[in-house]
Amino acid sequence: MIEAVSVTKKFGDFTAIENLSLTVPKGSIYGLVGYNGAGKTTLLKTVAGVYRPEGGKVLIDGEPVFENEKKKQRLFYVPDDIYFKPYTTMRKMAAFYKGYYPNFSYDTFEKVTSLFGLDPTKRINGFSKGMQRQAEVVLAMSTMPDTLLLDESFDGLDPQKRTVVKELLYDYMRQKDVAILISSHNLHELQDLCDYVGLINGKRIVLNGSVKDLSKGKAKYRLVFDRPVTEQDFLSIPHKRLNIDGSIVTLMALGQPEDAYARLKEMSPLLIEETVLTLEEIFLDEMEAEGHEAKKIFG
């Protein structure tokens, strides 16, 4: 479990994050979102033990992580700006990490490398950006960490590889009961992956919770009518984001999903379909409730 407790990190006079707290339980994936420069990387580096916080603390399984050899030998940090030794190959990097991670598994290394279709004997500086990211993920998984930190790790990956990575992470998390913290500026990337999400804005976490809890009391429906309908027809149903396109209507119904469904059914639509709320929709809704302007955050 990762716990950030009132963490503050400053760079000279500039405060990057302030009194920031979050928890990533074991066996879960936490998505950290925010605009560019919000403090995601700063937080990840602080959790990884690269930065020493000016205030607060970071605990992993109850122990402070900074300068904690044992904890860090079970933690892997995949930075946004990845590093490989000059003119090295994946095999050599594997040998490099093997020296620092007692659980390093060559078996896993070979399998995941094969999964991505990478040549471990070829120089990494000859790989494309996307391939380098894959290589880094391979190495990360090979260290068999209990805690995995990924910073913008989907950048440069094609949609197919993204899916592979997501599946890999999900499977690994389930099998090994690890805590994974992923940062991204793109909510779509974290769709269907994260159990928890947190939004950094203004140096703090402004929104934090499980996806399930955040989507509680909200449901999204698509309806098809055989007649034109207007907003007036929906006044009796608590809703948001009503969109009428001729006879097709989409809306977010508030309150208990069963009640909402029953009320919509009473309107005798030809078709009534419940769809999954996207993370973006959840966040937009929450941000409005908090009084934050979504445009300012998501540009």
Binding site: V50, G99, N103, S105
Partner: protein, 832 residues
Amino acid sequence: MKQKRSSANPFTHTFAESIRSTNFIVGLIILLGAGFVMVMSILYTITYKQVITNPVTGVQEGVQTAKDMFVYYLFDDNSYAGTFLCGALILGGIVMGMSCFRFITSKKTVNVYYSLGIKREKLFLANYLSGALLIVVAVVLAVMAPVLLNLIYIGSSIELWTAALYYMMAFATVGLFAYTVTAAVASSVGTVFEGGIFSVIISFLPTFVLSSAQMLMDRLVWGSPFGKNFFERLNEFNYDSPSLATHFSYFTPLTAFLDALKGIAFREKTVDEEKAAEKAVEIFELGLKEYIAVFAWLAVVVGVFFLAMYLFKRRKAEISGFIGTNRVLNNLGIMVVSLFAFSVLFSKLPLSTYVALAFAMLGVIIVFLILDAVLRRSLREFRKDLIFLPGHLVVTGLIFVIFSTGLFGYSTRVPEPETVKSASVSLVSVNGIVGEFYSYSSNVLANPVTSEMLSGFTSEKDIKLVRELHTKIAGLGADPSDDMWKFSSDADSKRLRSRVQFTYYLKNGKAVRRSFKDVTADALADMLKIYESDRIRQLVDEALSPDADLTKNEKARALRSEGSIFRAVPGDVTYIARLNLNEQQRNDLLEALRLDLSEQTYKERYFPEKSPIGLISVLNVGEPGFGGKPIYDVNIPSKPDIDIGNDEEPEIPASDEPWDIIDNAPTFETMESVYGGIDFVITEDMERTVKFLKDNNMFDAFKGTEKKYTSVNIVSLERSHTFQPHMLRYENDFSYYVSARATSKPKESQDAFYYNPLDNQQTYTVTDQETIKALKELSYFSYYSKGTGYAVEFKASDDTSQLLYIPASKMPAALATAVRSLDESLTQDFRP
């Protein structure tokens, strides 16, 4: 596939990774570079074979090799190879440090290394040890290269291995020092660029500081002895030159071990037992002091190591890749470089003190602005840093003030007489017996220069005299003006190009040295008082006494050599005569000279009321071919070729007359030491000598010849471009004593070109016979000029000329005014 599990040992792994990386290549370069220099320095000598041939028969008798000549030959430091090598090792250590700790200067690498499961302390230690090991191995192997050559060509010996071990220790210490400093610097800054710059500055910090101090002392500290050549003849070729850097060589990594390394670079074999005993005194042996120096510096390395580790642990990852994050190092680096620049500018600019100070301060500002801009790369930060500029100027100003006070009177302190065992002082002139000297043919008058200190002042009277002279000169203070290069209305207080030095050998074994540059004419004249000292009297006595030890005293030997010729030169330098002395007469003459010189005052000698009667010049012609028979193996100093008048073959015919002229149209460029003899200026106060000459009918030899003069050319010494002290080659060489010259046209061809000393001068010419006669009466054969006075060239109708001297106080006012007008029309400033 079977699961491979890792048995991680991060410390060992980090160490191994570091060794295997580019650090290894750096180590290899150090090894190859140092090894190459060491091997090349000895290769020729150690592989040399000299065929030994019998000089009589011409038969080859054997081959001499390095094995025959040396016990070992490890290094040859004749061309500063040792200094170069130490400097290269410092730079090598810095490069190794930057290579080993480069990983903390990049954001990318820091992300990886700081997130790994290894404490920072261990991370530092593993990387540090890898670089240190590579340096030590490189140094050891580099030294083993010449050791191997020694084993092949000379053989093994305890001396070889002892020397080799010391070389390894010294070189390794130098390299490790620079390496550890770099580790500390790298732990404090964000980029490799800064790391390199600050590492160089700190590693060479003592050199920067000492050089700056030396330059400031040269200009500001009156009497500073550092960096001056003290021409004390400790042995024939040993000139003591304690520069500040030499004095504090143990505090500078570049020079801490150089003396020892040079001392043990090689050891010659001496077959002859007697010579071995002599050589044994000169052999440099490694002693406790040398080993303490190594261990002291290693202790410094250890101290810096712990500092570096502390800084590394405290280092913030966020500074990686950012320049200018360490304000302390920024300011320190800028301060050191700007102070150095200040010192260079201030000491080298040919301007008066306060003008030079202004320009040097401007230099500080420029250096500050440029360096800060380079080190910050941010206009905002650069503007913020301007707040430190006044601080830099204040610190520089304070340093200037401290040096201006003479380091709080350090240089003007004179040791108490009861603490002094003996003293040495500069000779400001010569007197025949005392002082080696030489002269320049381009000088207007014969202007023998001297660059010697005389030691052995031990009596209470002498020490008192030396202290008085020293105190007077110390009280002058440094002269901020540049009036030395202009006409002066006050000749006595004008500064003259000179260097006067004092050395006190104290009873506690220490030596106190003071060196004063460009003292006043009056002070220089005062220095002539040493010719009345017990020491000078002693030297005169030792050379002229009938009981002189001819086996030890060169001059005594030359004076009493059977082949010595006593020449007489009259005061008007119109000819050279020879005094035909028998042995008794010679002894009587020498005795008369001894007694007269023992009582003569310096004023009688250098400021006589009347022109000296002339010169007795004793030439020792004891070499085969000149008819003389040397009594002993006389070592005569190098002399110009013997030229007895106009390139004719030297002939010294025998004569029964008390004296005869051997050259009635002499040309000589020096008066004293004419033909390299031992010269005695004969003045009227030397009653016994004059009496001897008269009693032996030799006095007329000094009468001279009446000549018909067609003109007299006058030039003031102050303006004369060939007299000016700046024409002298070294600042130690100076003398304001002048004596006459003579020239004449070569006899073999009256049309041949010959050079008169004043030919290239613009002179004031007098043709009026009455004036010429009056000037002749006022002229001196020799005098101590104090940088003033006039060279007067009397041109005779027989194509000879005699160049004499008139003191400034004796020149008729009208002529003095006329010459000064000419001088001022030609130049106002004699600056070179």
